[in-house]
Subunit: 303 residues, 2 copies
């Protein structure tokens, strides 16, 4: 199955206790696609500004990512600036300049519309829905969103969730969206609206996946070297979705066994992401290196 | 091996979104000992006031707990009052009246001093140390503490930690004590000071146990019915310690395999505790019921 990823390709300014980086490669679609690249060759649909350097496009292409759907706008590139405090748990936003992304209308080719797998990274749910409705043969839809959209366009978030198969949200977003304090109850409420799988990202506490009839809890890989958590959630989703795609036959349902291995794969890939600024950490996640960490995760909670 | 538990037996006033309870049985030693009672028969060393009802003593005895070391003071019983908000994550203290506990000087009999296992529940680290020094034949020392003592008597906390084998702290306390943002680094810093095992309690996110050469991460049992989290940490410790005692031969080191099963046992027992006010939840944790939940935990993170 071939995957289309719709989301941001951006500049990030990042400050963590380990340093400051400016104008580094960011954006959900970048993190997601690099994370997916050891297993599949996703195609990115995004918009960049006139100021976006060709070297970043080449960098993405070198991972086997199809960048032909990244259109260039006369506007500026989406630019996020933020910082992390000592505990690295929360990203504090200094500024968000949407630039070219403010008027982004994803354009799909006929070949794009025929793809079987779609990942809608965190963008305006109205745009997510528009993209979804153009797909003609889609079998697996993954979706990410964030507190900003849940607060400002809740109805639109629900509308697109209803048509997604697997959704990725963090614990705060799951509670906010469902209006439930219990994370399990909240995930189940969301699941009742449509998706087969609700994946709750809990940062250093790992991931909880609620699928039909079962719950899977995956610890985070115990890395001591957290340099920059930016994009870790997108990286997790990229790892997880790529594993599902690489291990599910077209037309077949995702089994709970494959889901468990996919979540663990995603956790392993995400653990590389936090070990370097921007995408330098995840760039080191070769298939073999990921397999090594999956083996550690397998033992971590076994008894 | 026979266990001595030194800690509080108290009154609690508890308010959660599910109701208000006044003058219910509380105290770390109560929660710990009831949690341990399906596997062992611990003896409590504590002090109560003149106002403490005999029915609570009988209630503890009915679990097979030895209450002969609970002395009666002319003062009032230790009384905690607090509440939980919607998410139940944090206990907010309204008042703490130490009462008889303010001048508590644990008195050990010769038989007490000969016991092989000691659990020092969360009390003044100076008192914890005094008790520890009276033990003549102790082989396994478990220890709990809290932010209040880490802030006010840090040196004394370190002094007693150095002589403990297994310590139980929550994530905030571990970070505070070690002065490290990374939980794993922080646990390792504490471990270097002496204890074989550092157990980090993370509430709904489960438990991380750092022992020599390995890390074990145990998810929390996925209960949807959290009524009152008071004492859940003590209950976890009681379950965990009782399993270690029941499955380790005198003079033998705790193996990592037994530790993993003990942590899982503790998590299962604690999941009962939160399902009812005071000790009414954990009172339902029969050996068979706990085994059922351990089986669920075993599957929860397996892949």
């Amino acid at each position: 199955m071939r995957m289309l990823v719709v989301g941001s390709v951006a500049f990030d300014d990042i400050q963590t206790p380990f340093g400051v980086k400016k104008n580094v490669l960011g954006g959900a679609a970048s993190h997601f696609s690099i994370a997916a690249s050891p297993l599949i060759e996703p195609k990115i649909i995004a918009v960049i500004g006139h100021d976006f350097p060709q070297k970043y496009i080449k960098y993405l292409s070198d991972f086997g990512i199809d960048t032909s759907g990244i259109e260039k706008s006369p506007d500026k590139t989406f630019h996020w600036s933020g910082f992390y405090e000592h505990d690295m748990a929360v990203a504090h936003t200094r500024s968000t300049e949407l630039g070219a992304f403010a008027s982004f209308e994803p354009k799909l080719t006929e070949e794009d519309k025929q793809r079987q797998v779609l990942f809608l990274a965190n963008i305006d749910p109205v745009i997510q829905y528009k993209v979804l409705k153009q797909m003609k043969n889609v079998q697996l839809v993954g979706l990410d969103s964030m507190n900003f959209w849940i607060e400002s366009k809740k109805k639109d978030v629900w509308k697109v969730i209803k048509e997604a198969d697997i959704i990725f949200l963090n614990d705060v977003e799951v509670r906010m969206l469902a209006g439930e304090a219990s994370l399990i109850k909240a995930a189940k409420v969301i699941q009742k609206h449509g998706p087969d799988v609700v994946i709750v990202k809990k940062g250093e506490h790992g991931v909880m996946a609620v699928s039909h009839g079962e719950i899977f809890v995956s610890p985070a890989y115990p890395t001591e070297k957290v340099i920059d958590p930016t994009g870790a959630g997108d990286t997790f989703a990229g790892g997880c979705m790529s594993y599902l795609v690489a291990n599910t036959q077209p037309g077949k349902k995702i089994t709970n066994d494959v889901l468990r291995r996919a979540v663990s794969w995603g956790s392993a890939v995400a653990s590389f992401a936090v070990e370097g600024f921007s995408t330098t950490g995840v760039a080191k996640a070769t298939k073999k290196a990921i397999e090594g960490r999956v083996a550690v995760l397998k033992k971590l909670s076994a008894f």
